[in-house]
């Protein structure tokens, strides 16, 4: 199966563009089960499009108002959810306190292998 790992960061973590990817995380991103990844700018750079009963509303900022913002997307292969959770858990261990990862199964996708 394929899974997407969505990484969330606390709102106060806004200087990430100035920081390099931590070494341990970079090493993990090079692993064969990671089939793709993207690191995103903080939510100040986000623009949200909303479909308001057929009309498109454009707003500045992330889609959901919460303390965390979507910080990245990591695509992995795993036999099942337990495998995906194990990888997510390990990844989370390389991140700063306050980070969260949402593990979501991928319904379909064209992903380039490692």
């Amino acid at each position: 199966m394929q899974y997407a790992l969505l990484a969330y960061n606390p709102a106060e973590d806004t200087d990430r563009a100035a920081r390099p990817i931590p070494g341990a995380l970079a090493t993990m991103l090079d692993r064969p089960e990671v089939t793709g990844w993207a690191r995103l700018h903080a939510d100040g750079s986000a623009t949200t499009l909303r479909n308001d009963e057929g009309r498109v509303l454009l707003t500045d900022g992330p889609f959901i108002d919460s303390k965390e913002y979507l910080a990245g997307l990591i695509l992995i292969e795993a036999d099942d959810l337990d495998g995906a959770l194990a990888t997510a858990r390990e990844l989370l261990g390389t991140t700063r306190p306050g980070t969260a990862i949402e593990v979501r199964p991928i319904l379909d996708g064209r992903l380039r292998g490692a």
Partner: protein, 410 residues
């Protein structure tokens, strides 16, 4: 009528076993459930006339599997080519051909199923509902009734859980050794939660259901001390069932008629506890089983009970263990000492916290406070026997009623 009752019993026994095997074959709980339901319906139609087959499990699995495959092929024709369905029907795991003839060839996959249903990626209330539905064979109606939620809510909860298992790829497997302790603890927590939900005396006999589940687990994992200990714990509690209610009211342990206790069940519980202790590993259910055993002895050794609750509180960091220690402390050093322990706990949401506190306040002669606490306990009480008991105590401690300080002689 007698035949249909006998058939019901066979169905209850077979449901979990048949469903687990079907999930293993079909790879989807919802599909397996539909197929099993169809097979059981066919059996209900044919068995009374034809007689029960020599191998009912094999008969039910084979019938259900054939129905499921027919159904999948039909849907495949309707929906056009679908890779998933091709895999399921043509290259998916196939059962042995001789299912109908030889019970030994049917793998018992109930353990795989219980670990799937109690997977930590599912919400606890979903784990509980799903376990009762799949392993216990309870209907959605019964589960909704037992947990006091509308049918629609329970139905959605079950459907969502089954879809999550399918879509997220929750494995149908017994976890590897390094995960087993945590995962087993989650399974046992679900079984014990089912037991506790039944303990208040609700309308669905969940205590029997929990014991039934634990018996199956003890058969499947005879070397796991915590499984044996949980079964022992529940048997020891349940042995007092006959004495626990009088005229639809809860009877406190001290006031119970001991001749109504189930001695055979107590013996079984104690022998299971000895088996669990012989494994040389302690766990929270073993400690609780030992406490339950002490509660059945006369006179009760409150110091040992308090010490074991302290061990339990340390093992589980559970404020409920502390609450129970407070009861033992009150017996040793008086109600005020017990209340001092209770006052440190943050258990305002827990119904038995208020009834426990009320009881100690009443014994301490603080009737006005006891009255308030009984009121709060009554607000949170979920079953009629508990409500009746609490309503009486509430009336007894009402300001207009003069009552003696100290313990009311039960």
């Amino acid at each position: 009528m007698g035949a249909s009752v006998a058939l019901d019993a066979v169905f209850r026994d077979q449901w979990g076993r048949v469903l687990a095997t079907l999930v293993g074959i079909l790879g989807d709980i919802e599909l397996a459930e539909d197929a099993a339901a169809e097979a059981f319906a066919v059996a209900a139609e044919r068995w009374p006339g034809d007689g029960e087959p020599a191998n009912p499990t094999g008969w039910l699995v084979t019938t259900a599997r054939n129905r499921a495959i027919d159904d999948l092929r039909r849907r495949q024709v309707l929906a056009g080519k679908t890779k998933l369905l091709i895999r399921d029907t043509e290259t998916g795991p196939q059962p042995p051909e001789a299912l109908m003839d030889d019970a030994a060839t049917i793998p018992d996959e109930r353990l795989e199923l219980v670990f799937t249903c109690c997977h930590p990626a599912l919400a606890l209330d979903a784990q509980v509902a799903l376990t009762l539905r799949t392993l216990g064979g309870l209907s959605t109606d019964e589960i909704a009734l037992a947990f006091l939620v509308p049918f629609e809510t329970m139905s959605k909860r079950l459907t969502r859980a089954k879809h999550k298992i399918r879509d997220a790829g929750i494995p149908f497997a017994v976890p590897p050794d390094h995960q087993l302790p945590d995962r087993l603890a989650a399974v046992l927590a679900v079984v014990y939660l089912i037991f506790n939900q039944g303990w208040g005396g609700g309308r669905v006999d969940l205590t029997a259901e929990a014991i039934h589940l634990a018996r199956a687990l003890a058969d499947l994992m005879p070397d796991e001390p915590e499984v044996l200990a949980l079964l022992a714990l529940m048997l020891l509690h349940d042995a007092r069932k006959g004495a626990r209610l009088r005229d639809g009211r809860i009877v406190p342990l001290d006031d119970q008629d001991r001749s109504l206790w189930d001695i055979r069940q107590i013996d079984e519980g104690r022998s299971l506890l000895r088996r669990a202790m012989a494994r040389g590993r302690s766990g929270p259910y073993l400690v609780q089983g030992a406490i339950a055993d002490l509660h059945l002895q006369e006179p009760r050794d409150w110091r040992q009970i308090a010490a074991l609750y302290q061990t339990l509180a340390r093992q589980t960091r559970s404020p409920i263990a502390e609450m129970n220690r407070a009861i033992a402390v009150a017996e040793i050093d008086g109600p005020e000492a017990g209340l001092a322990v209770l006052d440190r706990l943050d258990l305002g949401h827990y119904r038995y916290f208020h009834s426990t506190r009320a009881e100690l306040l009443r014994r301490a002669g603080r009737d006005a406070e006891a009255h308030d606490a009984y009121g709060r306990a009554l607000d949170l009480a979920q079953t009629e026997p508990e409500q009746r008991f609490l309503a009486e105590r509430l009336a007894e401690t009402a300001p207009s009623v003069r009552s003696e300080p100290g313990r009311a002689g039960g």
